[in-house]
């Protein structure tokens, strides 16, 4: 799926890197026109500067973060497809030409922390504002029998609660975590889909954004585990189930288990980031093929393929948001599993068995407890 096409995109961009002369200066103007109807609508170089970029550079420029937002509009007195709004100017940050130091109201700690919003930050704000608008407008008319937008919002929230939260966390604890899971799911979904709109960018294609989301999940998971097991129990599980009699294994187990705590958020980060970047990269590579090969006849094959990838990207956006929320719920649920250890009688069916996992299973991978406690 995505990875096959990401490989194709990589090969194409490797090929273009070699021919620096290939993307001619007319790519700057022609690209904006040709891509206008297409999946991207990505305006390329601004009309003011004619840079001789290779295709790889143009692709990286579109996918990565920056301080300029491009939009179609009137600038310099005439209509252009890619007027630039420089965010540094908008927020008053001045970068000294010689030293490269930044100064301004949003630069803190003497130039070390630059809080000037970048393109992806602005996209996050817009996605958040959109999500808040939809949610708040939807719940304005509350009634027991939902109608209209409220009904729609309720269907989605109920889906997240029943399919994701209850199945992975269990019936009685799901409501504590449903707000976070709903937020994560919809925020990621909106950000992903927002990147497919022309002239907008995918905020989740930025490693910092996905790292922040994974850190939220990590903090919630560990906090939940500590709350349900106590600090002592939590630390005891860092030994990985190795009993006290084998204490000399602990210096090996504990660092490994500690590092193992971080692999899951790391995987969450990279999975979301790479899926989003790969989709955009493939579209850009396919459309850039038109310019790299120089003829317009390639467009007959290239544009439908790019359209197909675009539809795949919509699907991937949905799936990745779902996967992120589901894995977050799974991690939270596996931290909660010791909650019902002591009072089995009432809680035998309380814990969800996700994918065949035993309800009173220990969190140590591979250990399957015997079901003797059921027969009590």
């Amino acid at each position: 799926m995505t990875s096959t096409l990401a490989t194709l995109a990589l090969v194409l961009s490797l090929g273009q890197n070699a021919e620096q002369a290939a993307p001619p200066a007319e790519a700057g103007r022609g690209e904006a026109r040709a891509e206008r109807e297409e999946a991207g609508g990505h305006g390329s170089e601004s009309a003011a500067e004619r840079r001789e970029d290779s295709l790889g550079d143009v692709m990286m420029h579109h996918v990565s973060d920056g301080y300029a937002i491009e939009y179609p509009g009137i600038c310099n007195g005439h209509f252009a497809w890619n007027c630039e709004l420089d965010l540094r100017e908008a927020f008053g940050t001045h970068v000294d030409e010689a030293t490269g130091k930044a100064t301004g109201p949003l630069v803190l700690l003497g130039g070390k922390v630059d809080l000037t919003p970048t393109k992806h930050v602005v996209m996050m704000w817009i996605a958040a504002a959109l999500l808040l608008t939809v949610a708040l407008v939807g719940v304005r008319r509350r009634s027991l029998v939902p109608r209209g937008l409220y009904n729609f919002v309720e269907v989605l929230v109920a889906f997240v609660r029943n399919e994701i939260a209850v199945k992975n966390i269990g019936e009685e604890d799901a409501d504590r975590f449903t707000p976070y899971l709903v937020t994560a799911f919809f925020f990621i979904l909106f950000m992903n889909l927002f990147g497919l709109v022309p002239f907008a960018a995918t905020a989740t294609a930025n490693l910092s954004v996905t790292v922040a989301l994974a850190v939220f999940t990590f903090v919630i998971t560990q906090w939940t585990a500590i709350r349900s097991m106590g600090v002592g129990g939590y630390l005891a599980h860092l030994t990985g189930g190795v009993p006290k009699s084998l204490w000399w294994l602990w210096p090996i187990m504990i660092p490994v288990e500690f590092l193992g705590l971080f692999t899951k958020p790391f995987a969450l980060t990279i999975r979301l980031f790479a899926n989003m970047v790969a989709g955009h990269f493939v579209i850009l590579a396919l459309l850039g093929l038109i310019f790299a090969l120089g003829t317009a006849w390639i467009a007959i094959a290239s544009v439908p393929m790019a359209l197909g990838i675009f539809l795949l990207e919509i699907f991937v956006a949905l799936v990745q948001a779902y996967i992120f929320a589901m894995l977050s719920a799974l991690f939270i649920g596996s931290g909660l599993v010791h909650h019902g250890h002591d009072d089995e009688s009432g809680h035998g069916g309380g814990h969800a068995a996700a994918g065949g996992r035993s309800p009173n299973g220990s969190h140590v991978a591979g250990v399957v407890p015997d079901m003797g406690s059921r027969a009590r």
Binding site: T4, N275, F281
Partner: protein, 76 residues
């Protein structure tokens, strides 16, 4: 061969191998899903959902490799 050429070579080979892994993994997954749903058509919906989730997870692992290859290929 200079370091740039080796980096490009590594990127290309790595991406190709990563896709082989993804292809084999997802192919087997899809085959098992087909077989399972042929044996029990009533479970088709559940099998389809689980298949998509598992495919996304396998893709995630593959895209680790792709990210590394992109880092190799697109650094000057």
């Amino acid at each position: 061969m200079g370091p740039n050429a080796l980096a490009f070579l590594g990127a290309g080979l790595g991406a190709g191998l990563a896709v082989i892994g993804a292809g084999i993994g997802i192919g087997r997954l899809a085959g098992a899903a087909m077989e399972g749903s042929a044996r029990q058509p009533t479970a088709l919906g559940d099998i389809r959902t689980s298949m998509i989730i598992a495919a996304a997870l396998i893709e995630g692992a593959t895209l680790f490799a792709i990210v590394v290859c992109l880092l190799l290929a697109l650094k000057p």
